[in-house]
């Protein structure tokens, strides 16, 4: 019986678990409880993906109310895949959480940290699972508000201003989505995504639908942090606690990409977005600037976490390229990159956190000679970094292969060139890290450093090993992503 209620459990369990964490009072208890919850969520997500892959789209009626009046949770190949990424990232990061939260969060507040972490996870899972556009807005704000609080827990005071800046930009983005949803509702009288997918294309090119499309797309791009809207991202990721940087880098922008796919392909329809309106040109232009500019700025950073944050701006550009090409291969590439980038960037931020935990800093100058002093952590950074470049046998190669292939299919070889140029620039910034850690000797007066605690290494290596595994065994990720992309482009799910 429980199997039929899995879609709602995916979202309700962390929502209910969050106040329980507050009641537990002790950081360690809250950590143990959150760990159990996260692994449970991963199990639910895996079961759901299995159900979707074997039995097709799941439609779950919340409270038994029949859609479109009632709220529906609708799971197809796309969001079941994203749910697995979210739950998997959270579960893999839990061993790491204990060590870093104990060090970075004030003792009286540790149980609250886990409560808010669970709320952020609830919001992200909710956005992904729901089939109702207003629900998307509400869950978006749940996850955003929780992220602002998590980012503000950073040890330096700049975390506060970074969080404030994200709050302002993020709220404007979410409000724009709210206006767009309002226009769609006024025009169609429904908030259900499957219902909208039928009624919106029938309306054609009316001003209200055009305005709704503009508001929603810009709002989602702000959350996705695609090029001109990325200003909030570098500071937020650089000054947040290590655990939060890694979690948000691996999940928050991925959910932004999911929202873009859902709104553009399912709600508005591929014909409206790409033939009536020039979304391909706009997305490709912004994404290619993001790839080049984000990666170039990353080369000149002096701090490892900021370098990784700007690299994220560039990598988000690859997602935009795949979505903008609007072909099955392109969207497959974007979805695979969502998965692979979550593993690689999650692992890299975890490694950066492990370095911060032992050195107290992540300046590149502090990294001198670290290849010998923290060999395992630095090896993880190197492998993750090579993944960002897109070296074969790493996962990053697979996604870029599909993106380049999609560009050639459309006859857009300059796009393929830009993607490859982005990889070369990535080689430059990864090279700077490697040079600092392996080819510079540690200063003679350097204090001895121990390797990071084993629990932190466990999480880091789980993510990094995953990025190698899925670089070699592409059937699973590419298979799921291809089916999901075909479903998205084939019209309503």
């Amino acid at each position: 019986m429980i199997a039929t209620h899995l879609p709602v459990l995916q979202v309700a369990v962390p929502l209910i678990a969050a106040p329980v964490c507050v009641l537990l009072r002790r950081g360690n208890y809250a950590w143990a409880f959150t760990t159990v919850v996260c692994w449970g969520l991963l199990a639910i997500a895996a079961l759901l993906l299995d159900q979707v892959m074997s039995g097709g789209t799941i439609s779950y009626r919340l409270g038994g109310w029949v859609p479109p009046i009632g709220i529906e949770y609708r799971l197809d190949g796309v969001n079941a895949f994203v749910l697995l990424i979210l739950a998997g990232t959270a579960a893999l990061m839990m061993p790491y959480a204990r060590e870093t939260v104990e060090r970075e969060v004030r003792p009286g507040r540790q149980h609250l940290f886990y409560a808010i972490f669970l709320l952020a996870l609830t919001g992200l899972l909710g956005i992904t699972a729901t089939g109702d556009v207003f629900n998307i807005y509400v869950f978006l704000e749940i996850s955003s508000l929780a992220s602002y609080v998590l980012i503000a827990q950073g040890q330096r005071r700049r975390a506060l201003t970074a969080s404030y800046q994200y709050l302002i930009v993020g709220t404007i983005g979410a409000s724009l989505i709210l206006i767009g949803v309002g226009f769609l509702y006024a025009k169609t009288g429904t908030l259900n995504i499957a219902d909208l997918a039928v009624r919106v294309p029938a309306l054609g090119e009316t001003p209200a639908v055009l305005a709704a499309f503009a508001f929603i797309t810009v709002g989602v791009l702000i959350k996705l942090a695609l090029f001109p809207f990325h200003v909030w991202l570098p500071n937020a990721y650089a000054y947040a606690p290590s655990m939060v940087s890694a979690f948000l880098a691996a999940t928050a922008t991925k959910v932004g990409a999911y929202m873009l796919l859902r709104f553009v392909f399912t709600v508005f329809g591929i014909h409206f977005a790409f033939e009536t309106l020039p979304l391909t040109e706009i997305l490709l232009a912004l994404s290619l600037i993001a790839v080049l500019a984000g990666s170039l700025v990353a080369v000149f950073q002096t701090d490892l976490k900021r370098l990784l944050a700007f690299s994220s701006v560039g990598q988000i550009g690859y997602l935009g390229v795949g979505i903008g090409l609007a072909s099955v291969t392109g969207v497959t590439g974007a979805l695979v990159h969502v998965f692979n980038h979550a593993l690689m960037k999650g692992g890299l931020f975890l490694a950066a956190g492990a370095i911060a935990c032992r050195l107290g800093a992540t300046d590149l100058s502090a990294l001198h000679g670290l290849g010998r002093r923290m060999p395992f952590t630095m090896a993880a950074v190197v492998i993750g970094g090579l993944g960002l470049v897109g070296v074969p046998i790493t996962a990053g190669f697979v996604s870029k292969w599909y993106l380049v292939q999609a560009a050639f299919e459309e006859g857009l070889w300059p796009v393929a060139l830009f993607v490859l140029a982005g990889s070369l620039i990535a080689l430059a910034y990864v090279g700077r890290v490697i040079e600092a850690a392996y080819f510079r000797a540690a200063p003679p007066d350097a204090e001895p450093v121990r390797e990071a605690p084993w629990a932190m290494q466990l999480s880091t290596w789980a993510m990094i090993a995953g990025s190698i595994y899925f670089g070699l065994h592409t059937d699973l990720t590419v298979g799921i992503a291809e089916r999901a992309a075909a479903a998205l482009l084939g019209g309503a799910p």
Partner: protein
Amino acid sequence: MEALTHANYWAAIVLAMIGLYAVIAPSNLIKKLIGLGMFQSAIFLVYITAGKVEGGTAPIIDAAYGVYSNPLPHVLILTAIVVAVSTLAVGLALTVAIKRDYGTVEEDEIDEQDRR
């Protein structure tokens, strides 16, 4: 008179623009939050106006009335108001923490301290 029938929408546009300006222009962090609140309120006004049916009453089933305003936008906006209040609370809490750590709530002075 065409414009007057849409007076609420014009008011919402003016409010939203004033709100956005107030988010961007001042360097005082609290004033920015006030602007943000205005921007959100303008959106609420759009929803509520769209739900109004001319000559309609409150949506309570009674034999004497046949025309009701659409209650759904009201419910949606109740939720959105809660979100806006929470956002304001988190924003003000951050501002308090910023004032404690930086000794100021003026953005230009904070930037100056960060650059040092």
